[in-house]
């Protein structure tokens, strides 16, 4: 009886947010079993072990190599049964969210999502969930015998001192009904740091005037190893791709540091960044509302400040 953890493998690498889920499950349940699809290298297996899993179910069937929401949900429900798991933990994502909701219906489990902290198990099972797009929290109790938790990024630090996990091959039963959706192709930025996973984010707004001025944003991002984001008008005008749009109607980020350049700080933008640990705002207008939500601020022209800041960081990096 261990907690089960769905670990997403992206381009061969276990996602950081999934490793957080492993450490979370290991801490809550004492032991954790991971399930992976689409191939597992020794290196990734040892990372998953170090994060706290004692066993990895490796569902390597070729038919499951590309992400398939319905088939993954069936396989995970089957794995929960096989391992007698009463707890499933996973990271929130475009794959994790629909999979968890389907598994909840299949298994009759109680599902809580946007979980930001370890559970309170004094007389029940309660978790703190982020609601109203980060503007509040709900202490939510889960009544079912089985429970599923969808974690927000940074709910817990990744353990690195776990043991090594045994790898067991797992062949879930496949049914045709789960293959009704045909993924004809996938387009994915490669080699970039993905925004929802990023620990540092540099975002640009309409204050940058045009897509041709993003060079300095990218340069700063590259210098500190950050992902790039933007405000909604910027993606609406196609200056940047839609998947970089941060806010109420876009990506919700929770990095250690969010750097906002030429963004006014409309409440809908703030809704996507209010789980950041620290916020640095660079805006030429000292009255910009973003400064009220910031930890650090520079009132100045981005076209001067950003190159200078990048130089200053490079100088200190030596």
């Amino acid at each position: 009886m261990s907690a089960l953890v769905f670990v997403e493998i992206e381009e061969g690498v276990a996602k950081k947010s999934s490793l957080e889920a492993v450490s979370y499950a290991a801490q809550v349940d004492g032991s954790a079993v991971a399930i992976v699809f689409g191939g597992l290298t020794d290196e990734e297996a040892s990372k998953i072990g170090a994060a706290g899993a004692t066993k990895i179910l490796n569902a390597s069937d070729e038919k499951l190599a590309t992400p398939n929401i319905m088939a993954y949900a069936s396989a995970i429900a089957e794995a929960m049964e096989k391992e007698s798991s009463s707890l499933l933990v996973l990271a929130k994502s475009s794959l994790g969210d629909p999979v968890s909701a389907r598994v909840a219906i299949k298994t009759g489990a109680s599902l809580a999502t946007n979980v930001v902290d370890l559970p309170d198990t004094n007389g029940g099972f309660k978790v703190k969930c982020s609601i109203y797009t980060g503007k509040a929290f709900a202490m939510t109790s889960l009544s079912g015998d089985k429970k599923i938790l969808g974690l927000k990024k940074n709910a817990i630090a990744i353990k690195e001192d776990g043991g090594s996990a045994t790898v067991e091959s797992f062949s879930p039963s496949l049914n045709d009904a789960d293959f009704k959706v045909k993924v004809t192709s996938r387009e994915k930025a490669t080699g970039e740091i993905l925004l929802p996973e990023a620990d540092l984010v540099v975002s640009g707004g309409r204050g940058l005037k045009g897509p041709e001025n993003w060079g300095m944003i990218e340069e700063l991002a590259k210098t500190i190893g950050a992902a790039t984001g933007c405000s909604k008008p910027v993606s609406d005008m196609d200056w940047r791709p839609h998947h970089e749009h941060v806010g109420q109607t876009g990506v919700k980020v929770s990095p250690s540091l969010y750097i906002a350049v030429g963004i006014s700080g409309a409440i809908q933008h703030l809704a996507g960044v209010n789980s950041s640990k620290y916020i640095l705002v660079i805006n030429k207008d000292g009255e910009a509302p973003f400064f009220k939500a910031a930890d650090y601020g520079v009132v100045g022209d981005a076209f001067e400040v950003i190159p200078k800041l990048t130089e200053a960081i490079k100088a200190q990096q030596g």
Partner: protein, 245 residues
Amino acid sequence: MKILVCITHVPDTTSKISFTDNNTKFDKTGVQYIIGPYDDYALARAVELKESSGGSITVLNVGEAETEPTLRKALAIGADDAIRINTFPRDAFFVAKEIAKAAQQGEYDLILMGRESIDFNGGQVHSMVGELMGLPSVSPVMVLDIDGNTAKIQREIEGGKEYMELDLPFVAGCQEPIAEWKIPNMRGIMSARSKPLNVVEPSTDDTATEVEVFELPPAKSGVKLIDPDHLDELVNLLKNEAKVL
């Protein structure tokens, strides 16, 4: 084509969030309610699909009587009739069961929802409804084109998108740029008053979760401003105080 659009009745995105009754109830004082922004995209796409290939649009909300103005607004935007399932939407599981039951009865070709509600941000209801009805569910959908019985979809994933094909019926959770939000015109508002709004009693009372108490995040302690001519100092703070570089 018969389309069902499920909409939430949620605080306007500029609302200040606060709670009453020892932090057990949402404080509605001064709050403006709207159709959830993602649900608004779903509705807008439904109206476009109806314009191009005919059919009908039913909007549905699981909520108490106070949500009726929001349903009327959806009727003004272009839905033909509305269903309100008369109960407080206790949790995603409960709502999904009610929607699945109504959807089963209506035999819709397409069920459109928002990618997520902006109060609980679960992003769960569409997948739960799909699973309960034995249908595929796809979310978040950025492009939805329908040709006969087949849909072509672009779904956003982290750092990119997926192109997919599937047959009707299915459930989709929508987001921009699937369609432009539509603003009701005078004719729409007038006709909405006489369109049917059916109130249905709920059929279950199963929930899986319960909110015990709400909490607000701690307030920020105030911004430290750094002179643009002394950016070394900023780098120093980021490194040694925040410890993020």
